[in-house]
Each structure stands twice: as structure tokens, then as C-alpha cells.
């Protein structure tokens, strides 16, 4: 009797195939990942050259990708050591940003929702942030009020930070592995 093993094999194959599909559309935004410290960028996702994984992920999530001619999106879910960003800890984002007409830094929870807070603040832009004397930014993600560029984390267990560079003259589309230097993300202390 060969029918049962065959049916079993088909079942396993379908579960396997669709399982990998589900995993890749929920966890990835395309294959052309550019790493810059803890930041991940997908320059080709916002072009007609977007790969099938990027197209599938955007079709599922309903997101409109940021077009490369418009700007470039970087996401960080970990700090520079690879530890997940924890909203119960204090995290600092320090460094000089690449040249761009403007940039925005947005703090979200794990699912990409903005975090409600009394200050009504969910991010900084190049126009609002207070720069250090050397032109670097120093943004603090913390559950408690901090001096300077403070973003309230609402003590969420996992955070996601989006950095969008608009009208940036540099191009990652060539697939250069060395992305421009982006601010470093370090964990200071946990409560």
C-alpha cells in the first residue's frame, strides 16, 4: 500500500512550503538586505526591481514601500550587540547621519504601531532634534522622562525604530555592502 506514505509526503510538503512562505512574508522585507550596524535597509524594495519576497511581504502587510527616488528606510529591532530593543531599558541612538535633505526617526512597537504617550511624541525629524556640537544626534529611548532628545517607549518589551532618509544623494541600489555609517544603538541600563 503506497497511498498513505504518498498522502503523508504531500501533506508534509504543503505544510513545509506554506510554512516557509508565511515565515518569509512576516519576517522579511526582501532579499537585498543592506546592513549598517544594527540597521537593515532594503533599497530595491521601493523600485520596480523589487524581488518576489519584497512584493509578497508588502502585499500581505498592506504597506506602501518608500520609493527609492523619494527616500530610503532603515529599520532596527536590535542594538549594536544584537540584543533586542527593550522598551523597559534605556537605549541611546548616537551618531552623525548621512547627508540627506531631511530625515525622520520613528519609534514603534514590535508590530509597527506608534506608542501612545502624553507628550504625543513618536519620533524626531532633522528639523526638530537637538544636535550636539559635533553635529551628531543623541536620542534616548526610555520609559521615563529624560533630558534632551527623549522618546517615550511606554515600557514595551520590544521596539522597532525606523530611520528614513529623504532625498539622500548616496545610493545603495548598486548593492554595495558598505552602507553609509548610521548612528550607533547602545543599551545603557535596564530598570
Amino acid at each position: 500500500m503506497r497511498l498513505l506514505p504518498l498522502a503523508f509526503t504531500l501533506l508534509v510538503a504543503t505544510i513545509l512550503g506554506l510554512g516557509v512562505t508565511w515565515f518569509s512574508v512576516t519576517h522579511s522585507r526582501g532579499l537585498d538586505v543592506v546592513h549598517a550596524g544594527a540597521w537593515l535597509g532594503w533599497p530595491r524594495a521601493g523600485t520596480v526591481k523589487a524581488d518576489p519576497y519584497a512584493r509578497a511581504a508588502f502585499a500581505r502587510s498592506g504597506e506602501l514601500p518608500l520609493e527609492l527616488a523619494d527616500g530610503l528606510l532603515f529599520l532596527a529591532t536590535t542594538d549594536d550587540t544584537g540584543a533586542p530593543l527593550d522598551g523597559r531599558c534605556e537605549t541611546r541612538i548616537v551618531g552623525v547621519l548621512p547627508q540627506a535633505r531631511l530625515w525622520t526617526l520613528t519609534l514603534m512597537d514590535q508590530d509597527g504601531h506608534l506608542i501612545a504617550n502624553d507628550a504625543g511624541r513618536s519620533g524626531f525629524t532633522s528639523a526638530e532634534v537637538v544636535y550636539r556640537d559635533d553635529g551628531a544626534i543623541d536620542v534616548r529611548l526610555s520609559p521615563r522622562a529624560r533630558a534632551g532628545n527623549w522618546l517615550p517607549t511606554g515600557a514595551r518589551p520590544r521596539l522597532k525604530v525606523a530611520l528614513r532618509l529623504y532625498d539622500a544623494p548616496f545610493s545603495f541600489a548598486s548593492g554595495a555592502a558598505d552602507a553609509a555609517v548610521l548612528p550607533r544603538i547602545t543599551r545603557e541600563a535596564c530598570l
Partner: protein
């Protein structure tokens, strides 16, 4: 080849997790149900089992590739579907500012005022006119499946961003004499009949959001005849 290896690693991780969850699930319901009379599938010799395993991996890979490629066409909650619940075609609609409680589309930049226009070129080409605000203003185009195919910012366009969006056949049917004037207007070819135009303007200071919203309200998106 790294991608393939990554996928294989992902696949084995998912499979392990799935089988663990499945066995836990079946273990739980086994107590309440009479034990089914089906025995475990009998694969015969180890060589045969290996053959079935190889078969399962190949079929699984095919199922994975087919489902990834079909996803844009089959996804029911993509950006176009979400937006078409809220608005009519061929008219610009200002989106509410993203807030912790409400987000029309995921991952929208809260520092921007956004407006979208769902277009349908089956009747006539579309004319998009966006007066540039004091700050960064951009217009980007997506197909109904969410593929980004064109974007333009105010710096490239000047005071008013004016674009004509049409299909390849509509572009080919443009009268000859209009071709000359077409130099000063931007003609964009849409790869699909339906899609999304997104107009976005940067809000430099929070206090100016209302002003920027009013400026973007003046933008239009309408059939050109």
C-alpha cells in the same frame, strides 16, 4: 546561493516548530477521541523513507515558490484593497494623521501629511497636480499590487508638480502636435490600469501641520478629459 541556504535553514526551523506544535495539539485531543485505527504511514526501507523525504522537500520548495509569486495577486488586504474601502477612484483623499490608535496603512511616517488617489486608467489618462509646500513634497506611484514604479519630489519638479499618468497605449495615441508640448509636461507610463498615487508633504514643525494639510488639500488628481 546564500539565499537558498537561508531558506533551507528557515524551513527546517519552521518544520521543527510545526511538528512540535502539531504533536502537542494531537496529544491533547488524543485523550478525548477514540484512537484512530490508522497506523503510522509505513515507508518501508530507510532508502525509501529518504526518497519520500527528498520528494517532500522538492514539493515543499515548489509550493513555497508558487505561493510567494502568487501572493501579490492573491493578497486580499493589500494597500489598494484597504484604501478602496475608504475612497472612490480618481479623486485625491487626505489620510488621517497616523496615531497610536489609527493607521490607515502600516508603517506610515508620522512626520508627513499624506494623501492618496486610487486611479483607474481604463476610461482616460489621469492628471495629477500638486502645489509644492514650503518643505519636502513628493508624489509616488504604485501599481494596484503595491509595486513602486515612479516617484518625484518638489526639488526635481519645481513649484507645482504636474504629471500625466497614462497607459502605454494611451501614450502611443497622443496626437503628434501635442507631442511637442509634452516636453514641458511630465508623462508617466503606468504598467497597470489601476494603482495608487501617494502625495506626501513633510511637516517641519508640529504647529504647521494644519497649514500643510490645507496646502495638500489643494492638490488634485482627476481624469484628464
Amino acid at each position: 546561493m546564500t539565499t537558498f541556504e537561508d531558506l533551507r535553514e528557515e524551513a527546517s526551523g519552521v518544520a521543527a516548530r510545526l511538528s512540535r506544535r502539531l504533536s502537542r495539539f494531537f496529544g491533547r485531543i488524543a485523550g478525548s477521541l477514540p484512537r484512530p485505527r490508522l497506523s503510522r504511514p509505513h515507508f518501508g526501507s530507510p532508502g525509501q523513507a529518504l526518497l519520500f523525504a527528498a520528494f517532500a522537500v522538492v514539493l515543499g520548495a515548489i509550493a513555497h515558490i508558487v505561493s510567494i509569486l502568487a501572493m501579490p495577486a492573491l493578497a486580499e488586504r493589500n494597500a489598494y484593497a484597504r484604501l478602496s474601502e475608504l475612497m472612490e477612484s480618481n479623486a485625491l483623499t487626505l489620510l488621517p494623521d497616523p496615531s497610536p490608535h489609527e493607521q490607515v496603512l502600516p508603517m506610515m511616517d508620522p512626520a508627513f501629511v499624506s494623501a492618496v488617489c486610487l486611479y483607474d486608467l481604463s476610461e482616460a489618462p489621469l492628471k495629477v497636480r500638486v502645489p509644492a509646500t514650503a518643505d519636502y513634497t513628493s508624489v509616488s506611484f504604485f501599481t494596484a499590487e503595491g509595486l513602486a514604479f515612479y516617484a518625484l519630489s518638489d526639488q526635481a519638479a519645481g513649484k507645482v508638480i504636474e504629471l500625466d499618468l497614462m497607459t502605454a497605449s494611451q501614450k502611443a495615441a497622443l496626437p503628434e502636435d501635442e507631442e511637442i508640448t509634452a516636453a514641458d509636461r511630465l508623462v508617466i507610463e503606468s504598467p497597470s490600469l489601476e494603482g495608487i498615487v501617494a502625495v506626501r508633504a513633510f511637516v517641519r514643525e508640529r504647529g504647521t501641520r494644519a497649514i500643510v494639510r490645507r496646502q495638500i488639500e489643494a492638490a488634485t488628481c482627476a481624469p484628464s478629459n
